[in-house]
């Protein structure tokens, strides 16, 4: 291959070569995140078409364990509170949280995803052949592999972050409404009121004080904040109890 024919592998982001590489990555990623996109489209349509307001104040993706505990606690005190709708809603959210956790695992396997991408497209040599319409030598294949990997990773991360942020928005909104519905019904229950009001240290003056904050405060009171495994999360919990009313 002489210099006139040599492949353009400079770092010009918008060159036709980069455009083709990007196309290949995006086509693959669209398929790779197919399930996430389907769940997102379904839930986003549901929230938008029914007048739900997106919630930003509380990041429930960090509070899932508290949602679980409050649901189970309320159910164990007065099972009548968790009626068919609340149970259905809880299962829906439970699914979304599991789905979100699984989705996040995809981020740590980026190398194996890249290998799948190469396999699906017949390897670096085959991709080079398709783009440049000629066989590449070993050096060029190596060079292309580096560019391809970097291009793929950047497309992957961009797509991943977008989906992550949208999924969080859906989960936070649905969780907010679930939490509100659960406590609205729980506050009507005499057993729930009696149970929490007798816990003197929680200092519950009225049933409007009954909310997820109780469980977070109780948890924070029970741990030694100087020896926690995840200080960032605990910092967030400290902040969030000031937001929750």
């Amino acid at each position: 291959m002489d210099s006139e024919d040599s492949i353009e592998l400079d770092s010009e982001e918008y060159s036709p070569v980069y455009f083709e590489l990007s196309e290949l990555s995006l086509n693959f990623l669209e398929d790779f995140f197919k399930n996430e996109i389907e769940v997102l489209v379904f839930n986003t349509n549901f929230l938008q078409n029914n007048g739900f307001q997106y919630q930003k104040d509380i990041d429930f993706t960090q509070l899932y364990r508290f949602l679980k505990v409050e649901y189970n606690t309320i159910y164990s005190i007065d099972p009548k509170v968790t009626d068919a709708l609340i149970e259905k809603f809880y299962r829906d959210i439970e699914y979304l949280f599991r789905f979100y956790t699984k989705f996040k695992e995809k981020r740590s396997n980026i190398n194996s995803v890249y290998s799948n991408f190469l396999n699906k497209n017949g390897g670096v040599a085959s991709i080079g052949q398709k783009i440049f319409k000629k066989d590449l030598d070993n050096k060029e294949i190596e060079e292309l592999d580096d560019i391809l990997k970097s291009e793929f990773e950047s497309s992957f991360l961009k797509e991943y972050e977008e989906i992550k942020s949208e999924l969080k928005r859906v989960i936070n909104t649905k969780s907010y409404y679930f939490d509100a519905l659960l406590w609205k019904e729980a506050r009507k229950s005499r057993s729930i009121n009696d149970f929490f009001k007798q816990l003197v240290r929680l200092n519950i003056k009225s049933s409007s004080d009954l909310n997820i904050k109780l469980f977070i405060v109780q948890y924070l009171n029970s741990v030694d904040l100087n020896h926690v495994k995840n200080p960032k999360w605990h910092d967030y919990l400290q902040k969030v109890i000031k937001v929750i009313d």
């Binding site: 029914n50 709708l85 699914y95 409404y177 519905l181 009225s206």
Partner: protein, 174 residues
């Protein structure tokens, strides 16, 4: 059972949306909810409903001699005495009744819509009142239950007062 894309009925969506309506309670509203079980007007009405049907909840600190209600004025507030006491006086400044903490006054205007029938003064330098109004704009089918209960409670209270007066009259006639 875990379901991928859960479907909700229109009624279910309405219930969820209603529960999520964001409304932060004011400090006064919170205080009202702490003591509402002492206010007969709210007997049998849940906290969620109380907050929906009351408005302009506030605290008032008054000194001895301060006029809280003036006979003849038109005002919609209902008062609950948190601390201290107030006196009901006639035109000639004669004290006809004393009302202490834990009791309320001013609620009859909500029913009669008449102007205040007596003047009420603070009888204590440390009188703290919680005042609120009933939001009659909410008196519709949606809030039918709390309003029915509210009128029922007032009717019951009036009936008791009439009974008490009748007893006094009978005792006086003996």
């Amino acid at each position: 059972m875990i379901v991928k894309n859960t479907i909700y009925t229109e009624n279910e969506i309405a219930r969820i949306l209603e529960a999520g309506e964001r409304r932060k309670l004011t400090a006064s509203e919170k205080k009202l909810l702490e003591i509402y079980d002492k206010i007969y007007l709210f007997d049998g009405i849940g906290e969620e409903d109380i907050i929906k049907i009351v408005k302009n909840v506030s605290f008032k600190k008054v000194k001895k001699g301060d006029v809280i209600l003036q006979e003849g004025e038109k005002s919609p507030e209902i008062y609950f005495i948190l601390t201290g006491k107030v006196v009901v006086v006639t035109e000639k400044n004669k004290i006809v009744a004393t009302i202490g903490s834990g009791y309320m006054f001013g609620e009859m205007t909500f029913v009669t819509k008449h102007s205040r029938s007596a003047t009420i003064l603070s009888y204590d330098d440390r009188t703290v009142l919680l005042s609120f109004e009933i939001d009659e704009d909410k008196c519709s089918e949606v809030y039918a239950f709390p309003f029915v209960k509210l009128y029922q409670n007032i009717a019951l209270d009036l009936a008791r007062k009439i009974e008490k007066t009748n007893k006094k009259i009978k005792a006086g006639n003996r």
